[in-house]
Amino acid sequence: MSILEQYAQIVGDDVIDQLQQLAKPLRGKSVVHVNSTKLGGGVAEILTKLVPLMQELELNTDWQVITGDEPFFHCTKGMHNALQGNQVPLSQGLLEHYEEVNRQNAERLRSHLVDADFVFIHDPQPAPQLSLCPDRQGHWIWRCHIDASHPYRPVWKFLRPFIEPYEASIFSLPAFAQALPHPEYIISPSIDPLSDKNIDLPQEEIREVLGQFQIDPDRPLVVQVSRFDRFKDPVGVIRAYKMATKFHPDLQLVLAGGSADDDPEGALVLQEVKAEANHDPDIHILLLPPDANRTINALQRAADIVMQKSTREGFGLTVTEAMWKGKPVIGGDTGGIRLQVVNYHTGFLVNTPEGAALRIRYLLNQPDKMAEFGHKAQEFVRENFLLTRHLREYMTLMVLLLHGGGDRLELT
């Protein structure tokens, strides 16, 4: 069965028909996506299925990854945090190294990029590639997956000249955008319901995973899946758990962190998390490899409640994943989580560990509500946040750029 046929079973034939209609004017066009990692993080997860799906629609699609050393990724992690508002001064030497690594990558990638009809550059890591391909022919789009609404100004001042020359940029929410001299499109990210991380799992496999980590399947479970990053507030989650256990002493907590290739800060935060957990046997801190997708899937499906108590968040795909699995979500009142978690419908937005603890208690006391929220959450994702909608919007943008932009385009 083709990927499109598999998707049709989930989203319906009309959605697939629409993709095929939009793909017609793009057939045979060459498209290259460039990011900084093949494994780990939301961008890589999206591209893993988006690229073959575009290929099946007869777009000549390629995915290239820039390579770099530890100082380069230290710099880009700093940029990532700085774009999200953290004051992260980056030394001149580090910034020069960032440019040098991009120059080295351009030598390798240039032949793939200059003739492409469309080039999608994801996030700041490969942003200088455009200026390093002066003979480029196609449409270049910068895709920002980060909340760049209040960046640390010195870092944004450094990055801005690399980004301004793009023909268009894409942000996940209007509020995330920065003033730029080109159109800024708003496209939410998505999840892939057919991936190992989201596909239906047999109950036996879920119980097996719980057994592997000594988690009791008969006691309530709260799960947060995210990198060990301060913006994800794993320490706040533990505090919320501790407050909730006064009323639900049988509660268990899983903090499952995947460490992405470009995330050297994680180890420091992990130490803080372990200190806060203080050897509580019902707090399970799991450092999972980037390919542990079925394990993450099983943990989310085993959860009664999924948390994403971020204090700053890009879009929050772990929220989307949990909702797709029919789970109520308690999420931080920030970024893209606001777009997904609707109070009293799909979960609750919270601002403090106290708020999170209160909502854990509310939900554990009302199993009917948990089921109702979970059902609504799944349908909400089906309509709005699956890969097919994401691809439709990318292709709509490509068709528009192919025809010179404009406010309205009627294809014949």
């Binding site: 028909d17 309509e383 439709r392 919007e393 406010d407 385009l409 294809l411």
Partner: protein
């Protein structure tokens, strides 16, 4: 009401009804308002596409309950400014009653100006969340499906995508004479033959229901007032 089996020749030469579909993209404008005065200022100059999206955009959003306010301005008045009076007045601005987006813009501005005169503190009170002006661009594509007779729409409408419903039933109001949609516009080619169907289609409120509900209402109207031919 049409109930004979022979194909009816329309009095006006009617082209086949071309089923189209569309995809909308949202574009950030960089403009936002944190007070009602700022909203008024931006609204007076913002691109008409932005007004279009803020009035009709909620049709394309998922709904968990019956929509309380029908446009983003009214929702923001309620949730951002916490001014129920203004929210109610803005919600009652019905876009299908105005000839074009400029007239609609003036009506919104009128409502806001009136409220600013009533409550002076609204000039400076800060909203708890900003109003982000966005605009849209639309790509319309032809599905290659053609309908020769209105009766064929009975089976087709339930299977149209919601974005196709958006194009033919809502976006049409921007392309056609006042308060028209593609279905009614096409049916007029048959003179009075489908007058009853036309009347019931006109009664479907495009403003209060989501696209899935509108699709069902359209399907019901065609099923009831455009009977199938005998086999």
């Amino acid at each position: 009401m049409a109930n004979d089996d022979a194909p009816f020749c329309p009095p006006v030469a009617a082209d086949a009804f071309a089923i189209k579909d569309c995809a909308l993209l949202t574009i950030a404008t960089g403009k936002k308002a944190t007070t009602l005065k700022e909203l008024q200022n931006h609204l007076s100059t913002i691109d008409p596409d932005s007004i279009y999206l803020h009035v009709w955009g909620s049709q394309l959003e998922s709904q968990f309950e019956v929509r309380e306010y029908n446009n983003h301005f009214a929702s923001w008045a309620r949730r951002g400014l916490h001014d129920d009076t203004l929210a109610e007045r803005l919600a009652m601005v019905a876009p299908n009653e105005y000839a074009d987006l400029e007239e609609l813009r003036q009506e919104f501005l009128e409502v806001i100006a009136e409220r600013l005169e009533e409550k002076e503190y609204l000039h400076w009170v800060l909203a708890t969340e900003p109003f982000e002006f966005i605009r849209s661009t639309i790509v319309v594509f032809d599905t290659a499906k053609r309908v020769e007779q209105p009766e064929e729409l009975i089976d087709l409408i339930p299977h149209l995508s919601t974005s196709s419903i958006f194009y033919h039933f809502i976006d049409a109001r921007r392309r056609l004479p006042i308060n028209q949609d593609d279905f009614r516009y096409w049916l007029t080619c048959w003179g009075d033959r489908y007058a009853e169907l036309n009347h019931h289609l006109a009664a479907i409120d495009p403003y209060f229901n989501g696209l899935t509900t509108i699709r069902q209402q359209l399907a019901n109207a065609f099923e009831r007032y455009c009977p199938r031919k005998s086999p």
